[in-house]
Symmetry: C2
Subunit: 499 residues, 2 copies
């Protein structure tokens, strides 16, 4: 309830900044059905509801039914006015929802651009995540939620949670409520295999997902969207499928339990599971081009594969897409740990879920892992200097950090000693927040660097010494992943779990 | 070559009637790559080629390469001018290609509306098929082709061919050329299962396909688009799948050879065949929303399932969608017998095929089976009085024909005897052209009815006596179709055929 009031106040503020209409969401304190909708979605809901009322009248339906329907229509019109500042007018979609490019819904100058294909910001500190929470209509992972996860799991929270690397969520409290009542859930995460090379940033969701799997003792499905990469990139189907299998080896090396984990390539699994395809078709029936245009910024020149793909990323959110694991049960709740740029897919999924009789998936969102050159962009697998790759040698790691890691230090040693460095923009320090597990040591580094006691070279050395053994250990574990193990993880089968 | 010249003359004529631009196609006598394109497709090709040239210039590509590219651009511009009567202008699509409604590409007043979901005409004689051939850019099945089919197959042509019920084709001569050179082909047809009830009109493609299977001794795949019906109709997935299986029984009752025939439900097979799904994704990558908008009249309010569905109807046109039958060969030519309203799907398929390295499917198009009430519309499975159903009793057949079959006779017996009836609009006579095999008897009926010697009641009696045993025999054969037989036909498996 508290969160609801907070957001409403923020929303009212936002209504005065019309540039944010495209991503502004309704928040639900009244359960009126317009929760989480963009202006365009609410407009479409209104249009459809108008059609329903006309149909009821034509069919000379029961008067009470018509009255109830009209009441809801009026309520929706009030919501629409509240959300857009405009009166609803049939045939005239909200004015601010046009999308200028392929890069997703428009953001005004100064707003960060965050969608599944592009992340950019003008700030060296990186994306403004508090602002993103408001724009996306998700909830902040606050201390109360971290404490609750510790209590329910009986384990100390992972440092990604303690340090706000996983910073936003949807419905995590409901997941925990149910878990406390012996109603379990499953995990779903994924990877778009666009090359053989994975970098350390790609490991973040997997490291955290493994922790969740361990502490909650639940099954996990991992989608390799090789079909997506074929549709978006200039690659062959064979390439994309090969990358899916190669990337799966790095994922397996993170230590997932083969008895509780199913990794699948879309190109293999969709053609092996009538249940999965049925869910894809169900989702595709309930999402219009207008909606994906609004959510993802697709245009008329996009291929029909891109346009329908969001349904394929949505389908694993529903447990009956995996009958071999869940025995055809459709009501097992799904929790999706992912980077926040994937949220548009799951906003769509959550919109569709109740309309096809399935529970909405819950989400845990992470921040982006910064490029060596700075937090303005996500790292790119196609630029070898932008990140530490999982195949890098100790020497390469040392050279890359020393040469490319953006420093928050001062220009001269004298100045640095006097004024101290800025950990908020220093990439080496950011990387340590991801990979140095000891909280006290990290805090000491923060203080020493800020005071000037610690020099940039020394900080970089600490990062290098932290990363080298992690990467070396990963390489060692990956070597032990045999083709047979990959096959086992990627075979649709029963998992070691009973509901 | 002859056909090419003919068509060019027709095209030139058409260019003077701008209302037909939407469906007018380029014909290829020069192999310049603009063959078979609509103005919008050609416009898009030009836009894309412009982008390519700009990219070549930016990359400072080889001068000769740029020159070749520019030459092609100029050639395409000339084609564009020839096709549309307008100069190509970047950013301005051809003016006549906007689509007003859900009902497919616009047709001017007087033009028949023909697309996969709607067929209508203002003429009691039915759709003007000669005009349709020009609009769709297909070729007429002329006496020469009928003679050739007889010669190659060594069998007398089916009466559907002799009487122009299958009236139009694409590339049938190439299919026969190859067959004569011991290069075989396969057949693909389908059905959208929207209800349990099938009517006699639904049998037309199957009766003809069975004849083709018998005379050419080739394999056949039959697609039941239960996913399509779910996307388009207010039905559940379970309903649609059930209808697919029930309809398959009627299809099997037509006498197909189980050793040469694979019937599949999309909802089952797509989830059982990675090869099929891979082809779907390939096709989806090579078709834009603009294209399906132009071809099918989709709008932004259509669900993404409808928008991407055309790829699913296209996929069976490629032999490697059925590795169990064709051993992964991708070069076995496909021949599709279907009603002409399905042609838009295959125009799209033929456009995509060379771009993904597959042969274009060939087609044989049938006219529509008229409703009892007249040839203005296709029959509807949802209107029991519009057609003879495969479940009708002899008495129902008699009553329906007597009560509803639109008559080309005169108002009084005296007038009829004096002026004669009109077989061109008489539905009973039309039905006889479909179901009465004896050419001489049919010709005698035509003469007698036209002269007035035969009265409407007598003509209807002949139709009733022709239909009753056909329907009764179908019902008898359908009864003999067991669940096991259905399962056998619908199991992906090797067919009795070697390439």
């Amino acid at each position: 309830m508290q969160r609801c009031t907070d957001l409403t106040e923020r929303d009212l503020k936002r209504v005065r900044s019309p540039e944010l209409f495209t991503t502004l969401k309704m928040t639900d304190c009244e359960g009126d059905g317009s929760v989480g909708l963009t202006p365009l979605e609410l407009y479409e809901k209104l249009s459809a509801h108008g059609d329903t009322i006309r149909a009821l009248k034509t069919e000379k339906a029961d008067k009470a039914d018509i009255e109830t329907a009209v009441k809801l229509l009026l309520k929706l019109k009030v919501d629409y006015k509240k959300l857009t500042g405009e009166d609803y007018k049939a045939g005239c979609p909200p004015s601010d929802t046009t999308v200028p490019s392929d890069n997703g819904p428009a953001s005004d100058e100064g707003d960060d651009l965050v969608n599944p294909w592009s992340v950019s910001t003008s700030s060296a500190k990186g994306v403004d995540y508090d602002k993103l929470i408001v724009r996306f209509g998700s909830s902040k992972i606050d201390q109360e939620l971290v404490d609750r996860i510790e209590k329910v799991s009986g384990q100390r929270a992972h440092h990604f949670l303690r340090r706000g690397i996983f910073f936003s969520h949807r419905d995590m409290h409901q997941v925990l409520d149910a878990y406390e009542n012996k109603k379990s859930f499953y995990l779903y995460t994924g990877r778009g295999p666009s090359s053989e090379a994975m970098h350390v940033g790609h490991l973040i969701p997997f490291i955290f997902t493994k922790w969740l799997q361990d502490v909650f003792d639940i099954p996990l499905v991992i989608q390799m969207t090789d079909d997506e990469k074929y549709l978006w990139k200039d690659l062959t189907l064979e390439d994309c499928h090969h990358f899916a299998v190669e990337n799966a080896k790095d994922i397996i090396a993170c230590g997932f339990d083969v008895n509780k984990t199913f990794i699948f390539s879309d190109l293999d699994y969709i053609g092996s599971s009538p249940s999965f395809y049925r869910n894809v078709v169900k989702i595709q029936k309930h999402v219009t081009f207008n909606q994906v245009k609004g959510i993802f910024g697709f245009t008329d020149s996009d291929c029909i594969g891109k346009i329908s793909f969001p349904a394929i990323q949505a389908a694993p959110s529903f447990s009956n897409s995996f009958p071999q694991i869940f025995n055809d049960r459709k009501d097992v709740t799904c929790l999706i740990p992912c980077a926040i740029d994937q949220d548009p897919y799951f906003r769509m999924t959550r919109d569709v879920a109740p309309r096809i009789g399935y529970p909405k998936p819950a989400l845990l969102h992470s921040t982006f892992f910064p490029a060596l050159q700075g937090a303005q962009t996500k790292m790119s697998a196609s630029d070898a200097t932008s990140s530490i790759f999982l195949t890098d040698t100790p020497k390469q790691i040392k050279n890359k950090v020393n040469k490319y890691a953006f420093s928050g230090g001062k220009d001269t040693i004298e100045e640095h000693r006097k004024y101290g460095g800025n950990t908020e923009v220093d990439v080496s320090f950011m990387y340590l927040t991801f990979f140095l597990e000891d909280d006290e040591q990290l805090e000491k580094i923060r203080q020493d660097y800020s005071s000037g006691a610690l020099l940039t070279g020394e900080l970089k050395k600490m990062l290098i010494e932290t990363l080298q053994p992690i990467i070396a250990e990963h390489q060692e574990k990956r070597k032990q992943v045999t083709e047979d193990m990959v096959k086992q993880f990627m075979t649709p089968r029963k998992l070691d779990f009973n509901y």
